[in-house]
């Protein structure tokens, strides 16, 4: 038994190291493939940049470690494709269950680039180096035709103009969120999958890996509590900030668009806000100082007025309104920023004032409209009839 084992071991050692017709050194292959213009019968480029390959992650490996069907020289024209899974089994397993599981459409090199120029992910030459990832993913996810085909938004332009995109492309911040920070890499799941980091209820945790303070605030507010208790109608980070086109929240553009976002759920509140001076001023482009929802309600830790920590709790109103209105006092904060002049029960004084003003407006205009029209007809008739001054002045 021991003898047989020894023979087998010797054969394996011989197979791997000893037999020249099996183990081909890089130099053997490069004697042909170093020619970068080398092409096969179908016109595929089969040249290898020896220098780049030597410095790459796989540079110490022999060619047929990957091109395992080649055992000798000369080799057949048709060779079997390289199987990365042989070594990278975990990544392959992750990919298999992901949205990119269709192998023919998503070969490893579609993200990792030139197979002979693969670098570690912290090497700036790598296609999966943090600063290069958006470009790598954008090759497909910045392509309109591809987006249409799969019913996906064309996210690359949205991302690249977002605050994350700017931090990454303009500032070169390695900590700026890139695609992989939120979506993961090999095991990317649809946002409909409860396991996905982009599934609605997982988003606060996903964003919280960087934005820990804000997430803690959010989880203490009504929206965070609702989501945590399973109410998926309540907003998570991306409902207000969007997923990819995230803007600097203090910038005018975001201030201008933030109100309708809250209003998409709080319709009644948006409608009454629209009737107030805050909204009328705020709707006109270029003026962003007037109060938006979150100036009064808070942004992440939104709390009901009944909570003493809420900025709209009665005891805090003077301070909250006072942020903009210097000199705000107890009477001033009785102002109702969501008053409804059409609701007699909630705002009776306002209701009757509006009614009076409307009746006055309608009454005056109706009376004078009739008066003026009759007058016009009559005086023109009179003018023509008397024919004085040729129907011109003073008829």
């Amino acid at each position: 038994m021991k003898t047989a084992y020894s023979i087998a071991l010797a054969m394996v050692v011989l197979l791997v190291f000893g037999a020249p017709q099996v183990a081909l050194a890089q130099t053997d292959c490069l004697s042909c493939h170093d020619d970068k213009s080398l092409q096969d019968a179908s016109g595929n480029n089969i040249g290898v940049d020896a220098h780049t390959f030597a410095s790459s992650l796989h540079g110490s490996m022999k060619c047929n470690d990957c091109h395992s069907s080649i055992k000798e020289y000369p080799h057949p024209d048709k060779i079997t494709p390289v199987v990365c899974e042989k070594c990278h089994a975990d990544e392959a397993a992750g990919l298999a269950g992901s949205v990119h599981s269709e192998k023919a459409e998503h070969p490893c090199i579609s993200c990792h680039g030139d197979a002979h120029a693969i670098f570690p992910k912290d090497d700036p030459r790598s296609t999966v180096y943090p600063l290069n990832i958006p470009h790598t993913c954008g090759k497909c996810h910045g392509n309109d035709a591809m987006a249409r085909k799969h019913g996906l938004p064309n996210v690359y332009p949205q991302y690249i103009d977002s605050i994350h995109g700017f931090a990454l492309s303009k500032e070169g911040l390695l900590v700026a969120a890139n695609c992989q920070s939120c979506h993961g890499s090999h095991h990317i799941l649809s946002h409909n999958n409860p396991q996905s980091p982009t599934y609605k209820s997982n988003i606060p945790k996903t964003c919280g890996t960087c934005h820990a303070g804000i997430t803690a605030n959010y989880l203490g507010g009504v929206h965070g509590k609702a989501v945590a208790s399973g109410d998926l109608k309540a907003p998570v980070c991306s409902d207000c900030h969007t997923a990819h086109a995230i803007l600097q929240p203090t910038a005018a553009t975001f201030r201008m668009q933030s109100t309708p976002i809250c209003g998409s759920c709080h319709k009644e509140k948006l409608s009454t806000y629209r009737d107030t001076f805050h909204s009328q001023l705020g709707s006109l482009g270029g003026y962003v100082e007037t109060a938006r929802c979150w100036d009064c309600h808070g942004a992440h830790d939104v709390l009901p007025a009944s909570d003493p920590n809420s900025p709209i709790a009665p005891a805090n109103l003077v301070a909250t309104c006072g942020k903009c209105h210097a000199g705000a006092n107890a009477s001033f904060v009785q102002y109702q920023p969501h008053a409804n002049a059409h609701n007699r029960k909630l705002n009776p004084a306002l209701y009757y004032i509006r009614l009076f003003m409307n009746l006055l407006l309608a009454g005056v205009l109706t009376f004078f409209m009739i008066h003026t029209i009759l007058w016009l007809i009559r005086s023109r008739y009179h003018q023509i009839k008397t024919r004085s001054a040729k129907g011109g002045k003073n008829g």
Binding site: L281, G282, S331, Q334, L360, V364, H371, T372, R378
Partner: protein
């Protein structure tokens, strides 16, 4: 009307081919009207984009004049000028009635205060519209002119008060209840809308575009009108002044051509802007 006679006294009576001109408005009154319509157009043009802030033209206009900050700046600027003009008018009325003891300011044939004749004229005029009676013989200010005056007077107080209450809300909150701060916006915008709709449709037609004055009543710009126009439009005043033997003292000069042309340019520009704002207002009102 001492002030009219004073205004006329500065003129050398001229007779052109038998046509005489009579003074209706003093220089101060004409300037007051000019300030009134200039600031009113300014207030309307800067107020409407706020009232209809959701409409397509509001944002374009706002960004055109330099954003909302510029709009509210001009709105407040015009408001201050108009307030000043209003105070000057009130002081003028006070001086004439209480200091100079002038008669006929608060009561009488030349007063702006409505009287029984105005009620009769209103119904008489309506009967005439329908062909049921003779045309009323109007005095110095006809009932619709008095309405215009009091509408502006009331509007000035209501819009002015509610506007300043918004401008200085924390100050007004010291003596107004909280809901009043909600009410002032409703009052300000509805009264403003009424003023805009009224001036740009009813006042324009009643005063300028009706056949008797078409296309524009120049008297508010030149201060004078021809004898024929005077007799035709306000026969009762003409007869009263003639009976008092004061026609001569009301004589003015025919307005120079440059003044007529200048007034036409200014007047038609104002009417054009007014009608444009009217169209925008109606489109926003019915479009939303």
């Amino acid at each position: 009307m001492a002030d009219l006679e004073q205004a006329a006294a500065g003129n050398i009576a001229q007779v052109h081919a038998g046509e005489r001109y009579f003074v209706r408005f003093t220089r101060a009154q004409r300037y007051m009207h000019a300030v009134l319509f200039t600031t009113f157009l300014g207030l309307a043009a800067t107020g409407l984009p706020m009232r209809f802030s959701e409409s397509f033209w509001a944002r374009k206009f706002a960004s055109g004049v330099g954003g909302f900050g510029a709009i509210i700046f001009f709105h407040k600027f015009f408001a201050l000028v108009l307030t000043l003009a209003f105070l000057i008018h009130v002081r003028d009325v006070f001086t004439r009635s209480w200091v100079r003891r002038e008669k006929g300011i608060f009561w009488g044939k030349t007063s702006m205060v409505a009287n029984w004749k105005d009620v009769k004229d209103l119904f008489g005029h309506m009967r005439w519209f329908l062909g049921l009676g003779p045309k009323p013989q109007f005095e110095r200010y006809a009932y619709w002119e008095k309405f215009d005056y009091w509408a502006v007077f009331w509007g000035m107080i209501v819009i002015g008060f509610s506007g300043y209450a918004m401008w200085f809300a924390p100050f007004f909150a010291r003596f107004l209840p909280g809901w009043a701060l909600n009410a002032v916006l409703v009052i300000h915008s509805e009264e403003g809308l009424l003023a805009i709709l009224f001036i740009f449709s009813i006042h324009f037609v009643n005063t300028h575009l009706r056949p008797d004055s078409f296309p524009m009543d120049m008297v508010i710009f030149t201060g004078v009108e021809s004898e024929e126009e005077f007799k035709h439009k306000r026969p009762e005043e003409y007869q009263r002044v003639a009976a008092e033997g004061k026609l001569e003292s009301r004589l003015g000069i025919q307005p120079p051509l440059w003044l007529v042309n200048f007034s036409k340019v200014v007047g038609f520009t104002a009417i054009f802007i007014g009608l444009l704002l009217l169209v925008l207002t109606l489109s926003a009102y019915f479009g939303s």
